[in-house]
């Protein structure tokens, strides 16, 4: 038991995590780039045009991976937030801070791509359907985290307050989604739902999964880079950071 806990916590200090992150970034970045190429090729070139929507549907190869990542990243943020509050570790809180901008970006991409898809698919840029409305509220949750963290001057208090916010948010996300879905059915909203659209041909599903994996690798690479920047920003005056100037990344 003691030897396995030692292994885990060995990387839990920012100083020792920093070089590990640095080593991992190029691998994940390369993997992301390598997966995007076949993913896009399968989605944009190989997959057949949709029976109802023609070529316009191809935006789902951006939209769906972005939407999945936006939700997944929020869950990961909740995980690190719980760790930060339970064990009072600085690195856990820094991970949350590093993930948030990428999560917000994916949410934004999902909203924009969904909106662009909406126009050719059923004539309007914004149809107030359940998924898009929930995605918009998720964007507000991300912005809320970023705004709260930025507004509190003391970084330790900012970390803990924002961690509480993420946990409160994650509990509410299913409730919000369920209520928006109910709201949508009550008002007989847009009958075309995003997921009902393409009957997935195998090639389309493969392309979407590859793109999702590429997005995930991208997110990991960018998050690790960002956490390095956050570590330097916060612990820059520590002795080990000064030694970095001599060592190469």
């Amino acid at each position: 038991m003691s030897s396995s806990t030692v292994n885990w916590f060995r990387y839990s200090s920012p100083a020792s995590f920093f070089p590990l992150a640095g080593k991992l970034v190029p691998w994940f970045a390369a993997a992301a780039a390598l997966l995007t190429v076949p993913g896009l090729w399968l989605g944009l070139v190989v997959a057949p045009p949709d029976a109802q929507q023609g070529e316009a549907y191809r935006i789902i190869f951006i939209h769906v991976p972005a939407a999945w990542m936006s939700m997944f990243i929020y869950l990961v943020m909740a995980f690190w937030s719980a760790l930060a509050l339970m064990f009072n570790t600085r690195l856990s809180a820094m991970m949350v801070q590093a993930l948030a901008p990428t999560g917000a970006l994916f949410t934004f991409i999902a909203l924009v791509s969904g909106s662009l898809w909406g126009r050719p698919a059923w004539g309007t840029y914004w149809a107030w359907d359940a998924r898009m409305t929930s995605e918009l509220i998720l964007l507000f949750l991300y912005f809320g985290y970023l705004a709260l963290h930025a507004a509190i001057a003391d970084s330790r208090r900012a970390d803990r307050a924002s961690a509480v916010l993420v946990l409160v948010g994650v509990v509410n996300v299913p409730i919000i989604y369920f209520s928006v879905k109910w709201w949508n059915t009550l008002h007989q909203g847009a009958t075309v739902s995003m997921t009902a659209a393409p009957k997935m041909a195998a090639v389309m599903l493969t392309a979407m999964l590859i793109m999702t994996l590429a997005a995930w690798f991208y997110a990991v690479a960018v998050t690790l880079l960002r956490v390095q920047a956050i570590i330097l920003e916060r612990e820059g005056r520590a002795a080990w950071a000064g030694n970095l100037a001599g060592a190469t990344r």
């Binding site: 009072n88 001057a153 003391d154 970084s155 330790r156 916060r234």
Partner: protein, 204 residues
């Protein structure tokens, strides 16, 4: 007995102090002094369990205590810079409120007696907004006698007090130490209580 081991604290991202340790036994008062910004208030807040230290730990009667630990809350009386008085309540109501907040009964006679002891008999029914700074400080200090707590943590209690107020505080603290209580007091001014042992801690 309150023991602090290797305490370090930071404000924002700057280190305030490190390596602070002390042992406070019954009957002893520790006076914390130091220039402005040296972390006196932070140290007192750590001792009261309001703030978490960056490093090190606080031990009460042999067991380590976290911030807001119930055992620390039960034995501590913290009076900070801010008096915690509500403008809309009278002096008497404020005192009653603060005393009952800490679980003690707030009877009219004991409240009256406490206020008279601090020369506030005539201001009993005045709303706190009508009191001077010195009078507000006295109302805040009046609860010292009404709550039986072993550990007193007073942050700059002499602020705005006149000579009579300082004398009254010296007497109250002296009696507290004589009956086995402990105190941590941050102060700029010279303050020698009647009786008890005095320690002094100076922050740089």
């Amino acid at each position: 007995m309150l023991v602090a081991e290797d305490l370090a604290a930071q404000r924002g991202n700057a280190l305030l102090f490190e390596g602070v340790q002390f042992s406070l036994r019954p009957g002893a008062a520790m006076f914390v002094s130091g220039p402005n910004g040296s972390g006196k208030t932070t140290l007192l807040r750590i001792a009261a369990g309001l703030t978490r230290a960056l490093r090190g730990r606080l031990v009460w009667d042999g067991s380590a205590v976290d911030p807001f630990a119930s055992i620390l809350r039960a034995v501590t009386l913290f009076i900070g810079h801010a008096t915690a008085l509500k403008d809309e309540l009278t002096a008497e109501e404020n005192l009653a409120s603060l005393v009952s907040l800490h679980g003690a009964p707030a009877e009219a006679e004991s409240l009256s007696a406490a206020l008279s002891e601090w020369s506030l008999a005539r201001q009993r029914r005045l709303p706190a907004r009508a009191l001077s700074q010195g009078q507000r400080r006295r109302v805040a200090l009046a609860r010292l006698r009404l709550l039986a707590r072993p550990l007193w943590i007073l942050d700059e209690p002499l602020t705005a007090l006149d000579a009579a107020g300082v004398a009254a505080l010296r007497e109250v603290v002296g009696e507290h130490l004589a009956s086995g209580g402990m105190a941590v007091i941050a102060t700029h001014q010279e303050f020698a209580p009647v009786g008890g042992t005095s320690l002094s801690l100076r922050l740089q």
